[in-house]
Each structure stands twice: as structure tokens, then as C-alpha cells.
Amino acid sequence: MPDTGVPVTRPAPQAAARPLLRLERLKRHFDVSPPWLARVLERKPRAIVQAVDGVDIEIARGETFSLVGESGCGKSTVARLVVGLYPPTAGRIEFDGADMGARRGRAEMAAIRRRMQMIFQDPYASLNPRWRVFDIIAEPIRAFGLAKSGQEIRQRVEGLLRQVRLTPADGVKYPHEFSGGQRQRISIARALASRPEFLVCDEPTSALDVSVQAQILNLMMELQRDFGLTYLFISHNLAVVYHISTRVGVMYLGRLVEVAATDTLFRRPRHPYTRMLLDTIPDLEMTGRRRAPVAGEVPSPINPPAGCAFHPRCPFANDRCRRERPELLAAGETRVACHAVEEGRLPAEERSYVRA
């Protein structure tokens, strides 16, 4: 059995305690009607992208919850909603019990914001090129008033640089003097500067080479152990997600179609889309398993198919699927939004992605 060595970084989900983050029926729609759209597409009437269309997630303290799915399914939009870069169209975000949509004073809001930070995919774009690394990392410390003196700021920044395996001497340099992996370390140091409990990581290693990716993932797992961090982790790389996550949510066209503990998801995926995604993982072991070339592509989120949005690509679709949208329901150890699973037409089966 491969999971005899379940690492310390993946504590069992604690059901009892209050979740650190709770998303309830969260929605974000974008109006992409002409004239903006007319330039890109041909003239069309009002168009609304339902980027996130009713997502429920609870993330427990200390766990890593990952979102996976094809490009455009709404992963980054969820991330941006959580850290407040977009206001929700509908639904609720609760952080440590506090409703993020409630009116609050500036100081109270800052106190909450300090506790959650975001790491972006592109370490080039997310650092101010005109600032020295020292000032980039010191900025949140100054902004949130987390140090009493210049001396204390210096100590904090130097400590952070060491934590991400850079040196205090790197502080005087500018971002362009670093490689992609080193820049991502700088973003991580900056994200940690306000001593957050919760990090939203949107494809933090997707722009990096595999060898650099391994360094960054190791660093993230170490930091999580050392500081008890909670991660919302976004990636389209299923092998990376397998390594780092406690639980995984699979998204398709703005909705969650399956949520399960990592091992359960990879061993007994229930949703036809989850199975399809797993079938496309490249076979590095060269077992001869053929990647199933998937039929079709993600349909436009502007006019998502009626009923189950996956039905045009689904081998199990029937009339009900074309009419009625499936809800995310408990099915054994997972939660799945699929009529076939609910009706018992699609039994659970062990899959062999996890090498025994």
C-alpha cells in the first residue's frame, strides 16, 4: 500500500472544529457584453460569463484544499473571490467565523486581511520591478504596522529571506536579478511577512521548471509544517495536487462536480469528468497505459449546456442529464454532482492511477 507513509503535512480533515474558510453558494458572474466582446467575437447580444456559479467549500485549519479543472473552469476566480480581489455576485465567504461581506471598519478589515495572503502563478508579474527585494518583503510588515522599529523590520525581513532559502544579502537586489524559482521564493516570503494563517496559492509552480517546482513544493510543505498554515491550492497538474493536498475539489464550468479526500479521489473517482481528467495524466511510469484522448473541449461558460454542464462530453448522459442540473450530494466517502452516480448507474470502482 502506498499510503503507509502518509506525511505529516496531510492531517486528517477535522470535521468537528470550525472551518477556517467557508464558501457558501458562492457566485461570480462577469458581464462580457459588447462593445468589449464585439472586438473579440462577432456581434452578439448580452453575454454573462458564469465564472463561478454556486460553490460550497469548507477548509479546515491546517489542511491543503486543492481545486483542479481545465482552463477557464473558474479556479482563479474562486481564489480571487476568497482574498477579496473580486466582490461576489452572490453567496457568502466566511473566514474563521467572520462574514467577509459584512460592513466593517477599516482597521477590523485589515486585521482579517492580514491573516490571508495570495501567491500568484507568475512570479515575474507579481513583484514590483522597481523595488528592492527588501522593500517588497517589508511592505506588508509596514502596511499592517507589524513592527515597532526599522531594526525590527530588518530582522523580520532577514528571517523571512532565510526561511525561503535566500540570504539577507539578497535584500538589496531587484527582482530581475533572480531566476523564476527564486522570484517565487520572494513572493512566498512576501506572502508570509504578515504572518498569515491562510495562503491562497494560484498555480504557484505552473510557470516553473519541474526541478524548480520540486524545490518550491518542498518549501511550501515545510512552511506548512512549521507554521501550521492552511492552503487553498490551485493547479491543473494532478500529480502536484496529489502530492500536496489533503482534499481535492474538481471544478467544471464554474461548479464543483466532486469533492473528496485526496486518496479517495485518486483511487475511487466517482464523477465521469474526474475519471476523464485522471485518464489524461501522462504515464511517466511507461506502463503502456494509453492516455485516453478525451472527446471534446470545455464548452463556453457564456452559454453553458443546460442540465449537467458536462453532458455533451459525458458517455453516461441521458435525458435527465440534459434537463436537470445535478446537485453535489454525498456518495460514500465523496460528494458528487452526477445523476448517474445518484441513480446507481455508475458504480464506484477502483482505479489504478495510484501505483500499489
Binding site: P2, D3, G5, V6, P7, V8, T9, V40, L41, E42, E70, S71, S179, G180, G181, Q182, D209, V210, S211, V212, Q213, A214, Q215, L217, N218, M221, R225, H236, N237, L238, A239, V240, Y242, H243, F266, M276, L277, T280, I281, P282, D283, L284, E285, M286, R291, A292, P293, V294, E297, V298, Y353, V354, R355, A356
Partner: protein, 339 residues
Amino acid sequence: MTSLANAPLLEVSHLRVEFPTRRGTLVAVDDVSFDIAPGEVLGVVGESGAGKSLTGAAIIGLLEPPGRIAGGEIRLEGERIDNLPYEKMRRIRGARIGAIFQDPLTSLNPLYTVGRQLVETIQTHLPLAASAARARALELLKEVGIPAAEARFEHYPHQFSGGMRQRVVIALALCANPRLIVADEPTTALDVSIQAQIIALLKKLCREHRTAVMLVTHDMGVIAETADRVAVMYAGRLAEIGPVRDVVKQAAHPYTRGLMGSIPSIGERSHRLTQIEGSMPRLTEIPPGCAFNPRCPHAGQRCTRERPDLMPAGRTRAACWLYDPQGVGAPLRAETVDA
């Protein structure tokens, strides 16, 4: 190796690509040699900046000045193509070598319909009348798996999804039935599900037309599924080359081993992935001796002084003194965990 039937289609020998700069000459590709047989897929891997794309650009004659080929030879079906005048190379590029790049949009003209671009490309290289060119274009769109090709013919590139655009680019590259396709990160911008489709397509073409493919990517998964042989580049040089199975499963070069180890795989979970310490040197800071020596757990004194060339190493060829009878010399540092 050079029996006529199996004569290599492409032979690259001692290729060197340089960039003259104010602070001196940068050698971005250094003494790179390999060949590709008809119908063979050679994967070229390595981290960004290793020189993969420049090697590809040198072969298709699209090095951007001031970059230039400063040494070595490139032969296509025995004929030298590295020193041809621009016009002549342009004709070879459409007719005998097809190119596919990472971003399909760079290969497509946004102002023309997909059909028109295909017909024009076909007519540039083949003596076909408009109606015959159109028929061939439709045939190509069907071959690369574009559903409803007739209807799609009149559409513009922006009306296609990313995966569909990359199919169109492949169709464009195939217009004149090239003998060689140079594909630089053709699936990197695509979702894994679409990646699998594009790879299946490339393999089918290779099989059915005996087209040779140089597949540049940093994605080992793509290589493992597609390539017959793999060349691993590091800091402008070949670190290792060999049959795909051997490179993936029992690499000889410490860098390749580290690279393979750092790929997360499903089923083997630990609190730590294997990692190679440090990073690839910049072109201005390539250390003397073996370029990998500052990061190598096996480095010896000799590695800091003498540069290894490719040599037989188990089932592959690797540029590493570990496989030389004289070895690496006195150890440089205490050996850490095996890469």
C-alpha cells in the same frame, strides 16, 4: 548506422549558436550533435534557458539576429542547410520542414480565415490550382481532427479554441508533406486533456507519413509517451541522449536522474520530493569543467577542470566523467543523498 535505408533524415553535428553582446560572446548552444531517422520522434528536454528552442530555431533557419550559427553543420537528407541563403531556406522550411510553436496564435494570421491561410500555404509549396488546394486544405483539417471542417473553413483563428488552433497550426505545418517537423512546446499552452489529443495526432502522423519529429518540451510526461529517443540539454550542451525508456527509467547522468526524481508522480507520496539544489547557471556564468558540477552530488576534482563529452553510459550516452575509466577524480564534497 549509415546503411542507406536507415540513413538519418536530419544530422546535427557540433552545432554552436552564439550571441555577440557588448560584454563578449555568449555561447547559448555548444557542441550539440544528434540525428533523427525518418519516422522517429526525438524528444528534447531540459529546463528553460537550456538551449532547446535555439537548437530548433537553428534547424529551421529562424534564429533571430544577432543570434547566429557559429560552428557545426546541419544536414537534411544529406544536404547542408545551415548555410543557405534566406530565400532558399524559406522554401525548404515550408516544403521539407514544418514548424509548430507553443502559441498557436503566433503562427496564424488573425485577419484571414483559416481556410485561406491553408490554401495560400499549400499553393506556395505545391503546384495546385485553387480548387485542388482547397480540397487538400479540407482534407488536412479532417486529418488533424477538426469536426465540421467545411463549416470551419471560413472561420477566423479567434473563433477556435486553443486546442483547435493548435490543430490548425499542425495542418499548416503539414501542407506540403514535410519530411521533418520541429515542434517547440506544442502542447505547453494546452490543458492536459487537449494535450493528449494533440500528442495522439502527432504520433499518428509520424506513423502514417514517416515524418520525423523533433519535439521540444520541458514536459517529461509528454516525452515519455511520444518520443522514441530523448536528448537532455543542460546549459547549452547535451547532457544525455538515449532511448526514451532508458532515459526515463534508468538515466545515467546525475542531472537527468535529478530531473526525473523531481517530477511528482501519483502513488508515491512523501513529505518531500527529490530536488536538485541550486539552479542552472546563466550563460555568462557557466562554470569551467562540467557545467553541472556545482550542483552535482558526485562531482570530483576533474569535473571542475575538464569538460566531459558524450560517452557510452549504460544504455544511453552521457556527458559525465562517472562513465570514464579515469573517473571524476578526488571527491569535491561529501556525497549527499543520491540524486
